[in-house]
Each structure stands twice: as C-alpha cells, then as structure tokens.
C-alpha cells in the first residue's frame, strides 16, 4: 500500500516540522518576537553537533548533552545582549535585526565550513525499519524523532501551564509592567524564553542533521516550514502546531509522490489554501 507508507512518512516528518515550529511559537507567545534567524539557528545547532561528534567521537544522540546547553546559553546571551533592545512597539527593529542575524549566521557558517553538504552519522538505526502491517513499514529513526517531538511539545505545554516559570512567561507576555511589579525581571524572563527556544532548536538541529544533508544555506527553508506549521495549526496552540507540522509533512509527501519537483510546492499550496480559507488556522487559541 504505497499511499499509506507515504502518508505515514509525511506524518513522521511532521513531527520534525512541529519541533521547528515550537521554538518559533514559544518566542512569539512570550514576547511577540518573530525570529527570522530561527532556521539558521537550527542549522547552527547542526554544525555545533558536527563539531562535537567529530571532536569527542560520540554519537549524535550523546552530542545533544552538549549541544542543548550550548544553544541555550547562546539563546540567553543573544536575547539579553541584542534582542531585548529591539523589543517595543515598532515592528521594524526586531524584524530587521533578526534578518541581519540570519545573514550573519549563514555567511559565518559559509566562511567556517564552506558550502559542502554534511551529515551526521547515527549508525545502523538510520536504515532500520519495522513492519506495522502487511506492506507498511515505518523507519525507526523517524519514529523516534516523532515520539521525541511529541515529548517536547508535551513538555513545553506542561512547563507553560503547570510551572512557576510558565506562569512567569504568561504573566510577562500579558503585561510587562505589572510583571515587574510582582518582582519579575522581564529582561531575564525574555532571555530564559529564548534559551528554552534554542534548546528545542538544538534538538531539532541534531535530528535534522542525522536525517538529511545540511549546508549553511538551508536555514530559511526550515524557518518557512516552521512558520507554515504554526499558521496551519493556529497561532498560540502548541498541539495545533503539531497538527500543522503533520499536515505540512503529509502534503509534501503526497506532492513528492506526484512529482519530485512538487514536494515543496505542495506544502506551500496547502499553506496558502489554509490562509485563504481559514486564516486563523485549524486550532486557534485565543492568545493575548
């Protein structure tokens, strides 16, 4: 049953897209910032993982132990040092500064690593599959990534709605001045949010690097996939983002089956169709 296999593959890669989107969505929720460099930061994480696996001779999974905290620190510093200065009523500064950042990261990586395609090796697990039923196989690695994606989103939801940090995020997003009145240092809260976002980006970057070839220029496409997943799923809803990612993944998989050149187009067309017909997304939450 080729179509079932194809749709399943689309669903599984949707998990990865949802992870691209989760970090983006988190930042927008907390501080109304859209980080245009988001995709390039995913690629940066992939290159950091590359360096770690090469220098320490460890598996990509193990490298996460280092890549995640490194990216989190980068996120905290970036927000505290640069992006906090762009927050405010004017929408130009954050947009243009993160755009500039995107260009800097892409070209910095180009200078350091050249345009050669790279890939992280995870070993035999990359090609292992198991048979779900007659004629239907699932890749073990994609399945693991999908399960991790669900875990990440569940984790973020729990953090947002059941922890003190999550309360701090929601309160600061609601009303910055009053958040200060209850003792929250909003500069610190925003920096923590960015650190968390880049921690998720780190996982997404390592998964991306294991799954496919990467080079410095593929960042913007990942940003677009994440963005499309957010819009399809509905602003403000983490689980909606998962659905959005899955819809996008399935659309691309079906498109690729029709014609390889139609893979990306199919995804974009579905995105534009949702924008036309249901612009608030499939599961919009009334976000503040």
């Amino acid at each position: 049953m080729p179509w079932l296999n194809i749709i399943l593959q689309g669903v599984l890669i949707g998990g990865l897209y949802a992870m691209f989107a989760a970090g983006l969505s988190l930042i927008f929720g907390v501080m109304r910032l859209v980080n245009i460099a988001h995709g390039d930061l995913i690629v940066l994480a992939a290159y950091i993982a590359l360096m770690v696996t090469q220098a320490l001779d460890v598996s990509p999974l193990t490298s996460l132990l280092l890549v995640v905290p490194v990216m989190a620190v980068i996120g905290y510093t970036l927000q505290r040092g640069l992006l906090n200065r762009t927050l405010g009523d004017d929408l130009l500064p954050p947009l243009l500064v993160t755009f500039g950042l995107s260009i800097i990261i892409q070209n910095g990586l180009l200078e350091l690593f050249t345009a050669d395609s790279r890939k992280l090796q995870a070993g035999a697990i990359e090609v292992q599959t198991f048979q779900l039923m007659q004629g239907v196989w699932i890749g073990i690695l994609p399945l693991i990534q999908f399960v991790v994606a669900i875990g990440v989103i569940a984790g973020l939801e729990t953090l947002f709605y059941r922890t003190a940090l999550g309360r701090a995020f929601r309160a600061t997003s609601d009303d910055q001045s009053v958040a200060q009145l209850v003792g929250l240092d909003t500069r610190h809260v925003f920096a923590l949010a960015m650190a968390l976002s880049l921690a998720v980006v780190a996982i997404a970057g390592v998964f991306l690097a294991v799954r496919a070839n990467f080079d410095p220029a593929i960042g913007p496409a990942r940003l677009i996939f994440g963005f499309e997943a957010v819009v399809i799923g509905g602003l403000g809803s983490m689980w909606g983002t998962l659905v959005g990612g899955i819809v996008l993944g399935v659309a691309q998989a079906i498109g690729a089956q029709i014609d390889p050149g139609w893979q990306l187009l199919a995804g974009h067309i579905v995105f534009l169709a949702i924008l036309a017909v249901r612009p608030q997304g499939l599961f919009p939450k009334v976000s503040g």
Partner: protein, 339 residues
C-alpha cells in the same frame, strides 16, 4: 488664506543638484567607459528597488522580505513575452510591470491576512512559490534557466554598444520615473495619509483613512515598479534562472541593508545608502560571504543605534531635505514670516 508649501532652502539646493546630476548621468555614454556604465546602471537599479522597498516598509508599514518575487516575475515575464510571444523586449518592460501589478492583487488578498513579522515571512513564501513554479516551466528552461536568444537581442539594437547605451538609458529613465512617481505620491493627500499610517495606524484609521485600501494600492504599485526593474535587470543580464531571479541575497538582503543604512522612511535614504553600499563594495572588493556578513552586522548596529539611518541623522541634525516633501502651512497676509 493658507497654502501648503513643500520647499525649503535645502530642498531647492537638493533639487538643483539632483537635476544637474541627472543631466550629467544622461550623458554618461559619452564620457564614461563600458565598466562605468554597467556600474551606474547597477546602482540605478538598486536605488529604485530600495526606494520601492522603502515606500512599502517605511511609509506603508508593510515589511516585505519577498520582493524578489516580483523581480524574478518581471524577469521571467520579459523572457516569456520576448521569446514566446515575440514582443519587442523594450515594450515588454512596461507590460511585465502591468502583469506583475495584476498578480500582486490576489497575492495581497492572501498575505494581508498575516500581520507584522508573519506578513514578512508570508512574502518570502510567495517568492519561494514563484521560484518553484518558474522551475517547472520547461518552455523557459525549467530549473537551469534560459538565455535570451540572439534574435531578441538583435531586436533591441544592431550593435552591442547601442544595446548597452539603450539599457543604460532605460535604467536611468526608469529610476527617474519611479522616484518622481514616489515624490508625487508622497506630496499628494495619499502621501499625507501614508505618513499618518506610518506614525500611528490606529489614529489614522479613526480619522477616516481607509488603511486597507491604501496599503493594497501601495503594494500593487510597488509590485508594478519592481516587476519593471526585474524585467530590465534580466534584459541586461541576457540570461535568467530560477535561483538568480528569485535570490533573497541579491534582491532583498542588499536592498534592505541599503535602505536601513541610508535611512528608512525618508526618500533620500535609499540614494545615500546605495552610494555607501557601492563605495564599500568597490573598496572592499571581493570578500564574498564575509562582505555580506559585515553588511549584516552594520545593518544591525545602525538599526539599534541610529534607527533613522545616515540620512535620517543628518536630516534631523541640520533640518535638511534634498527633495521638497515637507509640509508647511503658510498664512498669507502676514506681517512677519511664519516661524
């Protein structure tokens, strides 16, 4: 009796200088060599693209990172019109502009549903869709692109020198036209409305300005101009491919950097920015990606510490304007001058 005056002493000087510059540039084929002409034409292209982007972002508040959609569309339309429909390449330029404007209408209908930074990314998606669609059109070379056939090239002018003069004058003419149109728009009451929108959209709305319609008009007009420039760019290059036509770096990154450094929301900004950009490019010669990296860093620094750009800083410091765009109410029948 009151009237609105636009000119100031600095703007009269500015207009005179610009007028002199345009005349000098019009004669460039006679005093400049091939390289100079190409450089100047390239600068004109960027001044126009940046001015149009400035109109969109700095005045209408629509920050687009996807204008390469129309640059590429204009280019492909020119090639399609010239190759498939036997239209004279020079005539094809305004036609490409017109079709680009028509395409902009349904595009706007879709992406205007997004706001702020999400709108920006939406424009990028549209550019990507155009790029992917262009790669599917085998009649125009598909993914690898196509060169302009010699029959079309000959149709422009019999000798290469004449063709280069022609494209140069077209570039200069188009730039002057687009800038004049922008100045005219900004001096009109629509321009006043745009400035109101830029300063405070909510207040503008409550004063009866139809914000949505005005933004749509600006988006479509910008698409018209950008498509024409795109057509001219690829007419000059004689070759087009999806990746070059819809390149973010070439048609958006540089344009944004030029406008930011020169000064957003001021019409003189893109001109100053282009001069600085090309000066840097000439002096720093070929640093490749390092050059882009530096531009990104400079743009960030400017955005954070001098958000009005170089011209913005100068204009405020000395109260200059190079073009007569200010609005001053002059009361006639006065004893002294108005302050």
């Amino acid at each position: 009796m009151t009237r609105v005056e636009h000119a100031t002493r600095s703007s009269r000087i500015g207009v005179a200088l610009i007028g002199a510059a345009v005349i000098t540039l019009a004669f460039a084929p006679y005093w400049g060599d091939r390289q100079t002409l190409r450089l100047l034409a390239e600068m004109f292209t960027f001044v126009t693209l940046a001015s149009l982007w400035n109109l969109l972002a700095g005045y209408a508040g629509l920050v687009s990172v996807g204008q390469q959609a129309f640059v590429g569309l204009g280019g492909y339309l020119l090639f399609a019109l010239a190759i498939l429909l036997d239209v004279h390449p020079i005539a094809a330029i305004p036609i490409a502009g017109l079709i680009g404007a028509l395409v902009a209408i349904p595009v706007a209908a879709l992406i205007f549903r997004l706001r702020g930074a999400y709108f920006a990314i939406g424009t990028w998606v549209v550019a990507e869709v155009f790029r992917l669609l262009a790669a599917q059109v085998s009649a125009l070379g598909g993914g690898s692109g196509i060169s302009l056939p010699s029959s079309v090239v000959q149709a422009m002018a019999p000798t290469r020198q004449m063709r280069e003069f022609e494209t140069y004058w077209l570039a200069l003419g188009l730039t002057v036209l687009v800038l004049a149109a922008i100045v005219a728009l900004l001096r009109s009451r629509h321009g006043l409305a745009l400035t109101a929108i830029r300063d405070n959209e909510l207040a503008a709305r409550s004063n009866g300005i139809n914000v949505g319609r005005l933004k749509l008009a600006v988006y479509v007009l910008t698409a018209f101009g950008t498509s024409m420039i795109g057509a001219l760019i690829f007419l000059q290059k004689l070759r087009i491919s999806p990746d070059t036509a819809f390149s973010v770096n070439d048609w958006t990154a540089f344009v944004i950097f030029i406008t930011v450094i020169g000064g957003i929301g001021r019409i003189e900004g893109p001109i100053i920015g282009t001069i600085i950009f090309f000066f840097l490019r000439q002096t720093l010669s070929d640093l490749g990606s390092l050059y882009l990296l530096m531009m990104g860093a400079v743009a960030i620094v400017v955005m954070l510490w001098a958000p009005k750009g170089l011209w913005g800083y100068i204009a405020e410091r000395f109260s200059w304007q190079a073009l007569p765009l200010q609005r001053r109410l002059v009361l006639e029948k006065e004893t002294g001058g108005k302050p």
